[in-house]
């Protein structure tokens, strides 16, 4: 690439390079444009119409769908439920996964099997997780019997059916399924930190806790930030689990944006309105991701973790 070339031959080479690159990228670009980009543009278009998905698309209503969504307490409630799950994930799930990753980062008997078990729920489908946990938590299910067996029958209540506890119960199930994924990511990051650095801190008189606080965690920063990012995006798009366990109930107390969108779009055939909700969901994710990219992820060079 360092050889001197005239401008005309450089243009020619660029064209050729572009031709080869274009040919290699063509299948992926075509698939991506057709099934990812085009539907998103379509969603933006549909969102401006009053449409049931079947008739002609001719009732243009401007931004009325958006006004309606932003004035609907049920939708705003759904947004707040997503926010609640995001906050819990960051405040509870990630620290929990981090704690376990720190424990599993030391050599001891049984470490490999524990890692295998903790990560296993990640491969179990969300709907299957949802069915098993609904049965477990329902009245006369395992949870109630176990609590009764240890004399705590008063501690049981049908958490998924109670407006006060449904979100926390759902968050618990989410954590059950996903903490292993974050743990594996963080464990991978931990294993990338050279032992010598932590040992040096120990020699300088740092306690184990100080070593973690001032040496390990800062070095793990890039991985934690990726984990946080994936957790935020995942929490905002929560659907399968809620749809199967509660359908957003009781009385909308566990509605998420995606469940609300699906219900309005596919159950009530309000395609235009559902699309507007999808666009709002998309914009929220997009703005958050850009902001995160701009202010948080920016200092991490690419490739610091696999999923950078």
């Amino acid at each position: 690439m360092a050889t001197d070339v005239g401008s005309s031959s450089r243009t020619g080479r660029n064209l050729r390079a572009w031709g080869v690159a274009g040919l290699f990228m063509l299948p992926a670009l075509a698939l991506y444009a057709l099934f990812v980009l085009f539907p998103i543009v379509q969603a933006a278009r549909f969102s401006l119409f009053d449409w049931n998905g079947l008739e002609a698309l001719d009732k243009f209503i401007g931004l009325a769908n958006f006004e309606r969504a932003l004035a609907d307490p049920v939708f705003l409630g759904a947004v707040s439920h997503n926010a609640f799950i995001v906050i819990l994930s960051l405040a509870v799930q990630i620290p929990f996964a981090l704690g376990l990753a720190l424990m599993l980062n030391r050599k001891f008997r049984g470490r490999a099997i524990l890692r295998l078990i903790f990560f296993a729920p990640y491969v179990i489908a969300e709907v299957i997780t949802a069915i098993v946990w609904s049965l477990l938590l329902q009245p006369n299910g395992l949870a109630e019997h176990l609590l009764t067996a240890i004399g705590l029958e008063d501690a049981y209540s049908p958490w998924l059916a109670d407006t006060d506890t449904v979100l926390i119960a759902l968050f618990f199930i989410i954590t059950w399924k996903y903490f292993g994924f974050h743990m594996i990511l963080l464990l991978a990051g931990l294993q990338g930190i050279p032992r010598e650095i932590e040992e040096a801190a120990a020699i300088d008189g740092a306690s184990r806790w100080q070593g973690i606080r001032y040496v390990t965690l800062p070095l793990l920063g890039p991985t934690i930030r990726v984990s946080v990012f994936l957790s935020i995006i995942g929490s905002l798009q929560l659907f399968d689990l809620v749809w199967v366990t509660t359908r957003g109930g009781p009385v909308n107390f566990s509605n998420t944006m995606a469940v609300y969108m699906f219900d309005r779009g596919f159950v009530r055939f309000q395609f235009g309105y559902g699309s507007a909700v999808a666009v709002i969901l998309f914009l929220i994710c997009f703005v958050l991701a850009l902001a995160y990219q701009r202010w948080v992820l920016r200092r991490d060079t690419e490739g610091a973790t696999t999923y950078g």
Binding site: F38, V123, E196
Partner: protein, 299 residues
Amino acid sequence: MAEPTTVREAVAVVDRRAGPGARVRVRRIAGSVLRYGVLLAVTAVIVIPVVYAVLSGFRDAPQLAANPVGLPNPWVWTNYTDSLMSASFWVQLRNSAVVAGLSTVVVVLFAALAAFVIARREFPGRELAYTVFTLGLLFPATVAILPLLILVRDLGLLDNPLGLALPEAAFGLPLTIIILRPFFRSIPKELEDAAALDGCGPLGFFFRILLPLSRPALVTVAVLAIVASWNQFLLPLVMLSDAGNWTLPLGVTNFSTQYTTDTARIVAYTSLAIVPALAFYLVAERQLVGGLTGGSVKG
């Protein structure tokens, strides 16, 4: 590079002086008791629901209502044998496998082709192309599901495995390209030059040298794609109406709403649906975890 050596030597010195003192030993034991306690509790919370589901499948309805804890007495096999002998379970298993296979082949091949030029070629717009693909991480199928239904309907692919596999592959492209790019980049330029001298064009290099050398990375992304497709719920929920085309997640969900009162049958069916996923996990765990771990260490 003298520093680590000094550190290591220093550690050895400290170890020798402090020795396995009694106080250190007590603290260490207390520490491991706490650690094993926490790890054991977490293990119990992970394992119990799955074991509970499997065991409950061996009870009949009265048993399940009276005592869902402990071993079934007597063991009832009909819930499992009924499910295993029903055609629907096997049909759903096959449908899931077909869709997962199709979408994995498409996403890995297409993503590898694109990641190859993005990783190793200079051309105007390369970074733009990469950015456009990575932005896709933000668009899960959920956001586009309404227009996707219309698109797939217009393509005549409703109730067709391709109607699921193609969108799944498309939405899997970003992650696959992101993982493959650094692997492809790490393969030495000299190899490509040598291949070019021997008359190997870009396509020849891609298929004969790059892909074989990248097998671990390809296996990793394939495993991720299979898991993603296998567990996909929203797309089948929207695209499939004929029960003969249902995938397992859809079949399990419908089964559970169909037999709401017969919990034992639901858990038996659900447990059976977990088996292929866990079996696959046991086989592919090293690729799944090793891929994450290896990639991150490599940086």
